[in-house]
């Protein structure tokens, strides 16, 4: 069963067709990837799925809900969380406050509750804190809980971004190059973390990644795009033997 369906997605910047008639599906509870050479349009696809870019055409459906013309915040509340290619934390806030942001769309206290400290407000605040701490523990950065995000080591900042996304209680999490800048041990940790996200929380994972070794290890399904078009899809084994894929990455055979 698919949780995310992308149909005939199209994005045009002026005269440039960044994404052209792209269709793919993501199976529920899978770990899937989108790969492709630099500038192939991967991040544009992510930005359209999460509502940051408005597609020129096409359809995106998350678990029965169309995401077209919806604000990013609305899409998040429908159950999609994301991380960014270049970390986008709240740099001056503590790790705890960073992660609490995820619970915003799962809670509903208003000005009234805040001003009069109602019982509902207090229970909700407790819940927000519990969930945030659980997510912080889950990614393993508990000892930094009260630290400002910008003072964390780089790898921990990446895990923090994941914790923050998990706190939105998503059905699917989109990771934009989660391994970028990580060293070997950190990558192993990340692989394990991604598996645990799926296995323990039952969250579908869709990621963009450059690191082929990492993709091969954890991806169950890969979609390859180049120049905004899908050129191949399947299991890592199938995809990495596909001639078009090899060509896209290494150039045409006769050119070598």
């Amino acid at each position: 069963m698919s949780i995310l369906t992308v149909k005939n997605l199209k994005l045009q910047f002026g005269g440039l067709l960044a994404v052209d008639d792209l269709s793919f599906t993501v199976e529920k509870n899978s770990i899937s990837s989108i790969i492709g050479p630099n500038g192939a349009g991967k991040t544009s696809v992510f930005n359209m799925i999460t509502g940051f870019y408005r597609p020129t055409g096409g359809e995106i459906i998350l678990d029965g809900d169309s995401l077209i013309n919806k604000k990013p915040s609305k899409i998040t509340s429908l159950g999609m969380a994301r991380t960014f290619q270049n970390l986008r934390l709240f740099p001056n806030l503590s790790v705890l406050d960073n992660v609490k942001s995820g619970m915003h769309c799962r809670t509903k206290q208003t000005v009234w509750g805040a001003l009069f400290r109602t019982k509902n407000q207090k229970t909700e605040e407790q819940l927000i804190e519990e969930v945030a701490r659980e997510c912080i523990d889950f990614v393993g950065i508990r000892k930094y809980t009260n630290r400002a995000a910008k003072n964390l080591p780089y790898g921990e900042q990446r895990y923090l971004e994941i914790a923050r996304a998990l706190a939105t209680k998503p059905k699917i999490i989109l990771l934009d190059e989660p391994a970028a800048g990580l060293n070997f041990e950190e990558k192993q940790y990340l692989i394990n973390l991604i598996r645990r996200i799926r296995d323990e929380f039952n969250i579908t994972v869709l990621m963009i990644e450059h690191d082929m070794a990492l993709i091969k290890q954890i991806s169950e399904h890969i979609t390859v795009i180049d120049y905004g078009c899908k050129i191949a899809e399947g299991t890592p084994h199938e995809v990495l033997q596909d001639e078009k894929v090899i060509e896209a990455y290494l150039g045409k055979e006769d050119a070598v």
């Binding site: 910047f13 002026g14 940051f52 870019y53 604000k71 990013p72």
Partner: protein, 301 residues
């Protein structure tokens, strides 16, 4: 018809001042994305420095150097204020180029207050009468009175703008400015001395604003330390109107705003003139933030 033409000419003169000041806004914005609140005050300082120097060369006991002296005053004033603009950049803005946007905006506000109140302390709070005034004679076209002074102002402004256009299009410095506006990091990697070019941009912006300052002193006859505040806002409106960061746009925007305002004042009355300008500013920022000549940006949610 005569009234129509008369207003058009009045609008063109005011528009020329707006254009000259708007250029400074747009250049600084184009190059470091800073909204330099203090820019209108450099115009005011220009008017005052010009006032002091002109008092030296004209009037009783003055040096009486005639037109040449007045021309020299123009140039010296513009250079002094240009240097002041560079000084402001060096002291107040450069330390904050990498800081969050809010910090540098607040600093710009501080610079504006500092310039206004320094001027008040130095030259006094009262209105000053400009030492030279323009001959009132002129000619008539289809019933409209056009003075030579008005023609002179417009021509002088146009010359300054053409000069700037040539400077930016034809010189290596102009090329460097355009390069930094596109990509600061890449420019510095290509060997452009980014700080020096930013300083130069401030110099030119302040230089032009000072020119407008003296001209408006001569044109209106009186100056005051608060004169830069409203006109700064108007010039910013002009820059937005033309598409901020766009040099030709700033020139065009200044004239358009001057003319619209002149007709607005005529039909709505002077007290609503500022409301009209701010209304235009807000409408443009909300519905067409890229201005008349601006490029269309990608649609983002």
């Amino acid at each position: 018809m005569d009234i129509f033409l008369q207003i058009l000419f009045d609008g063109l003169v005011i528009g020329a001042f707006y254009s000259l000041i708007a250029l400074g806004y747009t250049m600084v914005y184009g190059i470091i994305k800073l909204l330099n609140f203090a820019h209108g005050d450099l115009y005011m300082i220009g008017a005052f420095v010009g006032f002091t120097l002109l008092s030296l060369v004209t009037g009783d006991g003055g040096l009486n150097t005639g037109l040449l002296g007045i021309g020299m005053v123009f140039i010296i004033t513009m250079v002094i204020v240009g240097l002041l603009g560079m000084g402001v950049e060096r002291l107040a803005y450069r330390p904050l180029l990498l800081a969050p946007r809010l910090s540098i905006l607040i600093t710009a506000l501080g610079v504006s207050l500092t310039l206004e109140n320094s001027s008040m302390l130095g030259w006094g709070a009262s209105y000053k009468v400009y030492p030279i005034s323009l001959p009132k004679n002129g000619f008539e076209i289809v019933g409209a009175q056009i003075s030579y002074a008005q023609i002179g102002m417009i021509v002088l402004s146009a010359l300054l703008m053409i000069g700037l256009r040539l400077f930016i299009d034809k010189t290596i410095y102009g090329k460097a400015m355009r390069a930094i506006a596109l990509d600061q990091t890449a420019s510095s990697l290509m060997g452009v001395n980014v700080y020096r070019i930013i300083a130069l941009t401030f110099f030119i912006g302040a230089f032009l604003a000072a020119g407008a300052g003296i001209m408006s002193g001569v044109y209106y006859g009186t100056i005051n330390f608060m004169m830069g505040f409203i006109i700064g806002l108007k010039a910013f409106t002009a820059a937005v109107l033309g598409g901020i960061g766009n040099i030709t746009g700033a020139m065009l925007g200044g004239f358009v705003l001057g003319i619209v305002e002149a007709y607005g004042t005529f039909y709505l009355g002077g007290s609503w003139k500022d409301v009209l300008a701010f209304g235009i500013l807000i409408l443009f920022l909300v519905f067409k933030p890229t201005g008349i000549l601006g490029a269309k940006e990608m649609e983002r949610m």
